[in-house]
């Protein structure tokens, strides 16, 4: 089996990993780099649980080959902030009760971040459109839209 050396920035840290062509970015993140905050949902681009920022834009890591990340920058929800220093979106999701089981949250926040970077003051409809590729099986959409709307004025692209 041919292996391909892949180098990319993961949440700001350079990583180097040998992958097979058939390894998805999602598997590589979870199983080789232990970025288990990225969730494996449907595996075919419907649910958005596996969304990560690839060079600043949300993509489904389940439909991205690890080799395609070579030389790029990957940001997961963990790269946005942590318990001690949360990103305004993370804070807002907690404060607004936009997290129920939490499985969709990592992807939702990544999609929201991708939206706010392009459109810092989105309307509720624009927010709905931006997270339409992220399914919440707890159906907590109302709180999620509110949380993103609330966080928007507090975010800057450098966050």
């Amino acid at each position: 089996m041919t292996t391909y050396p892949v180098r990319f920035l993961l949440n700001g840290t350079p990583v180097e990993v040998d992958v097979a062509a058939q390894d998805t970015l999602l598997e590589t993140l979870r199983n080789k780099l232990w970025a288990t905050e990225v969730k494996n949902g449907c595996g075919k681009g419907d649910c958005g649980c596996c969304a990560v920022l690839l060079d600043g834009r949300a993509v489904n890591s389940c439909l991205t080959l690890a080799v395609q990340a070579n030389g790029k920058e990957v940001v997961t929800v963990k790269g946005l902030g942590n318990e001690d220093d949360p990103h305004p979106l993370q804070e807002s999701f907690i404060r607004k009760g936009a997290i129920q089981c939490g499985f969709c949250t990592a992807g939702m926040i990544v999609s929201a971040k991708s939206l706010l970077d392009e459109n810092p003051r989105p309307s509720p409809d624009e927010i709905r459109e931006a997270v339409s590729g992220n399914l919440c099986r707890c159906t907590g959409y109302k709180k999620i839209i509110e949380a993103i709307s609330d966080a928007a004025p507090k975010c800057s692209p450098s966050d």
């Binding site: 075919k44 958005g48 489904n60 439909l63 080959l65 999609s111 339409s132 590729g133």
Partner: protein, 294 residues
């Protein structure tokens, strides 16, 4: 049904030029496949409906990412992603039917990865871009070791996921003629939720002069083995004064012309019933966009 991992092993190449890509497809034999955004092919590979021995990515070939107006055409490189086409369409309103189609084609992440060439090469009868591109009389450019050729999109689709493109041919770009003035276009699909695969879709481009339909083109998705160019209605409507009853008749003609099947998304009967209504809605929208009284 596994959609978690890609089980089968394969080789992967990401050439930077068309010449290199053509050499790779020749070297790697009949199981080699080109891949663009991968939003469809990788799902099919997970489901093991296809098992390429080698994937040749086209995403690093700069020639395939052109997006510009030139000599009376809009040139869209085959590897241009939907989000770029959407951004282009919000500035240039020349192709509203295409714009409508891209807006309901997949969701944000899929639009960032999926490409127009990929959609046409997958050639699903329900491909949302196809009816819109058909009504604008688009052409596709193909290249292989044997040379380059241009095909009318109308002649390109041959069957369910079957096209005139040979396995060793690369789709390089889609060319859409600049529309004449007074042409309005629209596209609409019926689906369970927005980004679902269509139960049925319809695109119309109509040139109007006051209340007269000078000419029109109509295409539908998910009603036949190929994205279907409707033949009867354009002739019927040509140079006629458009009235509600005329459109009802045209809608009935469409229901008669299409050849839908029953599948998980809809029944043939429903598709036939709703086709005429959908056509009237889309025609009305295109008609209004062409300017003048609704």
């Amino acid at each position: 049904m596994n959609t978690r991992i890609l089980k089968a092993e394969f080789d992967y190449f990401a050439p930077a030029s068309i010449g290199e890509a053509l050499a790779l497809i020749a070297q790697n034999g009949p199981t080699a496949r080109f891949i663009a955004g991968g939003t469809d092919l990788l799902v099919q590979m997970k489901l093991e409906t296809v098992a390429p021995g080698c994937l040749i990515s086209l995403m690093k070939i700069s020639e395939l990412s052109v997006l510009k107006r030139e000599k009376g055409f809009l040139r869209i490189g085959a590897a241009v992603t939907w989000d770029r086409i959407l951004a282009f369409g919000s500035e240039d309103r020349s192709y509203p039917a295409l714009d409508d189609a891209v807006r309901c084609l997949g969701k944000v992440q899929v639009r960032r990865m999926g490409t127009i060439g990929g959609n046409l090469c997958t050639a699903s009868p329900a491909a949302d871009s196809a009816p819109a591109l058909l009504v604008y009389d688009s052409r596709v450019r193909l290249v292989s070791a044997r040379g380059r050729r241009t095909l009318l999109l109308d002649k390109y689709f041959l069957g369910v996921q079957q096209t005139a493109r040979a396995a060793d041919e690369i789709m390089t770009e889609i060319r859409i003629p600049a529309p004449r003035p007074d042409v309005g276009g629209a596209f609409q699909k019926l689906a369970r939720v927005g980004a679902d695969i269509s139960k049925i879709s319809c695109a119309v481009a109509v040139e109007r002069k006051g209340r007269v339909c000078v000419s029109c083109r109509v295409a539908m998705g998910a009603v036949a083995p190929v994205p279907l160019m409707i033949r009867g209605v354009p002739e019927f409507l040509q140079e006629k004064t458009v009235t509600a009853s005329l459109l009802v008749t045209a809608g009935r003609m469409i229901s008669d012309e299409i050849r839908p099947i029953t599948d998980v998304r809809s029944t043939a009967e429903y598709r036939k019933q709703v086709a005429g209504v959908l056509f009237r809605d889309v025609f009305q929208k295109a008609w209004t966009r062409a300017g003048g009284e609704p």
